[in-house]
Amino acid sequence: MTDQNAPLILVVDDYQDAREMYAEYLQFSGFRVAEAKNGNEAVDQAFALKPDLILMDLSLPGMDGWEATRRLKADEATRHIPIVALTGHALAGASEGARKAGCDSFVTKPCLPDDLVVEVRRMLSATKHI
């Protein structure tokens, strides 16, 4: 069973298969996981759960990932939470846009669950060091 003290990761993705895949693998890797399928949910969950890290897909229905990131980074309560952007858009300017919105890291899909876990661990340890 998952340790209650394990870091809580909020996985935000509108594509259920991908969201559940990452969530399952993160739990498998020992993290606590919460899920959100759009921007509004992501913001609500973030305020409610105060996760240790948010995996944020940028292309979302309704409020998109960029907007959600901007709101979270704009709020005192959630500003400290590292946000790793996930995107299938490899087109020019995608990563730049994500950084501008406030994302702390950027991962291009497809991303193997193993690679994602490596990135999550790196970000968490970096945050702790700070």
Binding site: Y15, A18, M21, G88
Partner: protein
């Protein structure tokens, strides 16, 4: 001649002279004891007053010259008396005869007897008169010393007789004493007359001795040759100089022919100007005075000046004439040098002058054949009719007439259409003196016009063609432009579509690869070996599909110009090592030896897009491994700091590429063997992408290879990539 009896003459009423009046006359005689003329005059006036004789003349015998001369007169003209002179040579002459008579002699006036030569009629204006001889002594046979002529007949009254007696005695007395003085007076008169005469001559006249000394000079000559002490210095000097000049001239005259005229330049003493004289000298011999020279000087200063003027004018005329001749020669040369025929005709239409080209048309040699003769005649006729048209005023009143004449060349019978331009030459008063005609050969102009027409039609045609071609081209351009816009639009749509599609591809592929990975990681527990092998097949095919999708996306991004460049500073040696690490599983699987040859001398640090350089090297090494079955692969890094250029070359010992395929392999979706049954996998996009990336980095990829001899792909990039 008639001897008149005095008594027969009727007594005329006359006043009787008183003794006191007689005494008065005698006293006058005493007062003027030596003047014959005055005494005679007083006597005649006494007669007029006391004896009633109003008109009378006293004549006196001049024995020396044998003349009867007038001495005094009353009631007559003085000059008749003074100029009266009557020869005594003819004793039959009534006047001369009267001198011998003892008593008065009646003289008839007019010309009744032919013997009267009119002496008394000269004195009294015609009519008869009486001559009374004057005798100082009583002897009547003595010749009288003079005559008293009175008008008409006279009564010899005692008063008249008394007067005749006393006058005769007085004349005799004076002549006896004073003939010398009388002579001197006469000489003075003559001398005065002489001077009056020579002074009235405007030319200077001089009498000099042979030495040139002045003896007599007239007033003109004195002005030139005589000066008194009172006169100015300049005038005296001029006179002195004139004398010297004149003497010199005279001495020459003495040697040379005397009578010949010669010129003498003197000075005008009054104003110092030059005066030129012509001197005519002649020698006079006088037994008493010796040899003298009479010189007459004629002022020819003005004459000389006029002569010089004439000479000068003549010279000018000569010069002007020469200039006119030269001008005419020059004009002839000019006219002859004009290529067009020029003809000058007079007002009657006759040819005055023509230049050489005109002569070719209008003259013909005598030996020329008939055709030439006829041609010249025809030319002449044409020309004459043209000129007469101008002379008759056809074609308006203008001074210029233009017309076309069809002439022929007499030598070749070739037709020569000419344009004739004729101009009238008018005098200042507007009279026609000549007509100048210039003939201009129009053949050249006609030929030019014909060529011009041809050229123009050709040009027009060409212009039309060009216009239609241009219009067509414009249409084509417009079509092309629209096509280009459409193509651009299509290309953009394609890129957008591909970008979207790749996203759509990735999402499910992400899930496929993710779950496969999770299963292989044992999320679902331990797997049987065959299931594991099957999952690995899913995994490798999924990865391949991802590569294809990524490569398509790259091409799309490059073509859409949306490939961002991220220039950083990095070391090419590191890139090679990273690539070898990344491809380690592939290298291991190929069982080939990969030899890195890094640039050791200097660190090959460049400013470029690290990710893209790495992508190229990965691609090149992957290809080398894929197409090499034995041997090895070498990766060499070179850096030339001087050229700021670096290169990474990948050399394999693989199958090699025939030179004809070298270009093909860089094309999109191409492999050397792109048949469906091809041996090697891959999208065929790898090298196409590499070449595009290299180009974006400012570099290039060069291939050296032959079939079966392996290949070397060399990436060369500048150390500073273009931004």
């Amino acid at each position: 001649m008639t001897q008149l009896s005095v008594r027969s003459v009727p007594r005329a009423p006359a006043a009787t002279a008183t003794p006191s009046s007689r005494l008065e006359l005698l006293e006058y005689y005493l007062a003027h004891h030596d003047d014959l003329a005055l005494c005679a005059q007083a006597s005649l006036e006494w007669l007029a007053r006391h004896a009633g004789v109003k008109r009378s003349i006293c004549l006196i015998v001049d024995a020396e010259s044998s003349l009867l001369a007038g001495l005094a007169g009353t009631g007559v003209r003085t000059e008749d008396v003074e100029l009266f002179s009557w020869p005594l040579s003819d004793p039959r002459d009534p006047l001369v005869a009267a001198l011998s008579h003892t008593g008065p002699t009646a003289l008839r006036g007019g010309r009744t007897n032919g013997e009267d030569r009119g002496a008394s009629s000269t004195l009294f204006g015609g009519g008869s008169s009486t001559a009374i001889p004057l005798r100082p002594g009583r002897a009547s046979d003595e010749t009288a010393i003079g005559l008293l002529l009175v008008k008409a007949a006279i009564v010899l009254t005692p008063d008249v007789a008394w007067l005749v007696t006393v006058l005769s005695q007085k004349i005799d007395q004076i002549r006896g004493r004073g003939s010398l003085a009388e002579e001197a007076r006469r000489l003075r008169r003559e001398r005065a007359l002489f001077f009056t005469i020579i002074n009235s001559v405007t030319d200077p006249i001089l009498l000099t001795d042979t030495e040139g000394r002045l003896i007599v000079a007239n007033a003109r000559a004195e002005k030139l040759f005589a000066a008194s002490e009172e006169e100015s210095e300049g005038r005296r000097r001029a006179v002195e100089l004139n004398n010297m000049l004149f003497s010199a001239a005279l001495s020459r005259t003495a040697v040379e022919t005397p009578s010949e005229a010669r010129e003498l330049l003197l000075v005008d003493p009054s104003d110092g100007s030059d005066l030129l004289f012509e001197v005519l000298s002649s020698t006079v011999e006088d037994p008493r005075e010796g040899t003298g020279i009479v010189s007459v000087l004629r002022n020819i200063t003005d004459l000389r000046r006029a002569t010089e003027q004439i000479e000068e004018n003549y010279q000018k005329l000569r010069v002007a004439e020469a200039a006119a001749r030269a001008e005419r020669d020059r004009l002839n040369l000019i006219i002859d040098s004009v290529a067009d025929p020029i003809i000058v005709t007079d007002q009657g239409g006759a040819t005055v002058l023509m230049n050489a080209p005109a002569e070719e048309l209008f003259t013909v040699s005598m030996t020329a054949d008939d055709t030439a003769q006829r041609t010249v005649q025809a030319n002449d006729a044409h020309f004459s009719s043209f000129i007469s048209g101008l002379l008759l005023g056809e074609g308006g009143p203008g001074e210029i007439r233009r017309g076309e004449i069809g002439l022929m060349n007499p030598q070749t019978s070739e037709p020569i259409p000419v344009e004739a331009i004729a101009g009238k030459v008018l005098t200042e008063t507007g009279e026609l003196t000549a007509v100048v005609t210039i003939l201009h050969d129009r053949r050249e102009a006609l030929e030019r016009a014909r060529l011009y027409e041809q050229l123009k039609s050709a040009s027009d045609e060409l212009q039309m063609r060009v216009q239609s071609a241009t219009a067509e081209l414009a249409t084509q351009n417009e079509l092309l432009r629209r096509q280009a816009i459409e193509l651009e639009q299509a290309s953009r749509l394609k890129s957008q579509f591909l970008a979207n599609m790749s996203h759509e591809f990735r999402t499910p592929l992400n899930a496929i690869l993710g779950y496969t990975h999770m299963l292989l990681q044992g999320v679902g527990g331990e797997l049987p070996a065959n299931v594991r092998r099957q999952l690995q097949r899913i995994d490798s095919n999924g990865r391949h599909l991802l590569t294809i999708i990524n490569e398509i996306l790259d091409i799309t991004r490059i073509e859409a110009g949306k490939m961002p460049m991220q220039i950083t500073e990095f070391d090419l040696n590191e890139i090679v090592q990273e690539v070898m690490t990344e491809l380690d599983p592939v290298i291991t699987r190929s069982r080939l030896a990969v030899m890195p040859r890094l640039a050791a001398a200097s660190s090959p640090v460049v400013q470029s897009d690290r990710q893209k350089v790495k992508q190229i090297v990965v691609n090149l090494l992957s290809n080398a491994l894929k197409f090499t079955h034995q041997g090895g692969v070498e990766i060499a890094v070179e850096y030339v700091p001087e050229e700021r250029a670096a290169s990474i070359s990948v050399t394999d010992t693989g199958i090699g590429i025939a030179p004809e395929h070298h270009d093909k392999i860089f094309e999109d979706f191409r492999q050397v063997d792109d048949s469906p049954s091809r041996q090697y996998g891959g999208t065929g996009l790898g090298l196409a992408i590499c070449r595009r990336l290299a180009s974006a980095l400012g570099g290039r990829i060069v291939l050296r290879s032959n079939l079966g001899e392996g290949s070397t792909f060399t990436l060369t990039i500048p150390a500073d990539a273009p931004q």
